[in-house]
Symmetry: C2
Subunit: 205 residues, 2 copies
């Protein structure tokens, strides 16, 4: 056995690093699900955004976790949804539509200036002036969000296939889900620092 | 901008994968900190191990987070400490001592058969028959654990430098901290499945 594979072993690693970006806009939930509406600031506590459906340390298992019994209490990991302005533009280009608005697909936070935002590894911290959140996982593009996009772009005249195009074209670009690590108020227009931890491509070799 | 960097971009990726291992032994906290004592089973709820100091969705910021005010309420991420039998042997070899026991350094779970256990990326699930935990981060080898090792190996006759040797030699081998995702009872001797998510070595290119 290799006693220190992170240094001398066959696995590829990168040291941690920081990049700066901008918190462009903020949104909280509204009707119909999953839509959100723009706000100037959001008070984050350690359970997320008080009064919203994703608030809480725990949630019920659902169709995203078919390996768990539906309705089981589980760790949340989905308090906050964050997307990137540049990736939303890339999704719109791939879908051949004018735009995909963050408030159509349930985003709480829109950032800019962070390359490959959806690929930030779990454990990455997004640090605001007061608060900090931890990236849990890439968000999975779903047909519910696709339907919301279709509703806005076709003005109710059928989906035009956009509901299905979204999950296909948004893969790897849909942003991330995150959990609050440090509570505080976050504000549209403030700078963010993204702290990516050291990474190793794990393989059983 | 590359619209789909996970497929065609310059970043290196690996698909998710599963490996099987064994839960060799289980431990719960005892005195003095950070020592633990062997048990046959542990009931995990969504806050960790009830009645122990690491129980809870949140904890106070401490010396591990010098960027936060000491005592601030923050997300825990440290409910459970897991180590690997093979890596403890590697640490003992590097320290030139007979053994490093998991109960000396605060471990709750000892696994075997999982290569590069400490390098499992955050977001990896360790799945037991009933419960599941999520890897949060590699654990940092600290001098408190080093002192506990020295106390056992030298039988109180000074530290022999072992307190300082531990943080140096255990780097990358100290195991991981984890959070409960699915509650349930875990048992010494049961099989575990380690589910590593798809990974990308993130770089701002």
């Amino acid at each position: 056995m290799n006693p220190n594979p992170s240094v001398s072993g066959p696995l590829q690693s990168l040291p941690g690093r920081e990049v700066k970006g901008l918190c462009e806009a903020l949104f909280v939930e509204t009707e119909p699900y999953p839509e959100t509406r723009a706000v100037f600031e959001i008070a984050l506590d350690l359970q997320g955004i008080a009064g919203t459906r994703h608030y809480g340390f725990t949630r019920k298992a659902g169709p995203r976790e078919p390996w768990y019994k539906r309705g089981m209490d589980m760790r949340s990991g989905r308090q906050i949804t964050a997307v990137s302005r540049e990736e939303l533009s890339a999704i719109a280009a791939a879908m051949q539509v004018e735009r995909v608005a963050p408030e159509w697909i349930g985003a709480n936070i829109v950032v800019s200036g962070i390359p490959h935002f959806t690929l930030l590894p779990p454990g990455t911290r997004i640090v605001f002036a007061e608060a900090a959140i931890v990236v849990e996982a890439p968000n999975a593009p779903c047909r519910i969000a696709g339907k919301a996009i279709a509703r806005h772009l076709t003005h109710g005249a059928g989906s035009g296939g956009l509901d299905l195009a979204f999950p296909a074209k948004a893969k790897g670009l849909r942003g991330v889900v995150a959990t609050v690590e440090r509570p505080g108020t976050i504000r549209a227009g403030e700078a963010v620092t993204v702290k990516v931890p050291p990474q190793t491509l794990w393989q059983p070799v």
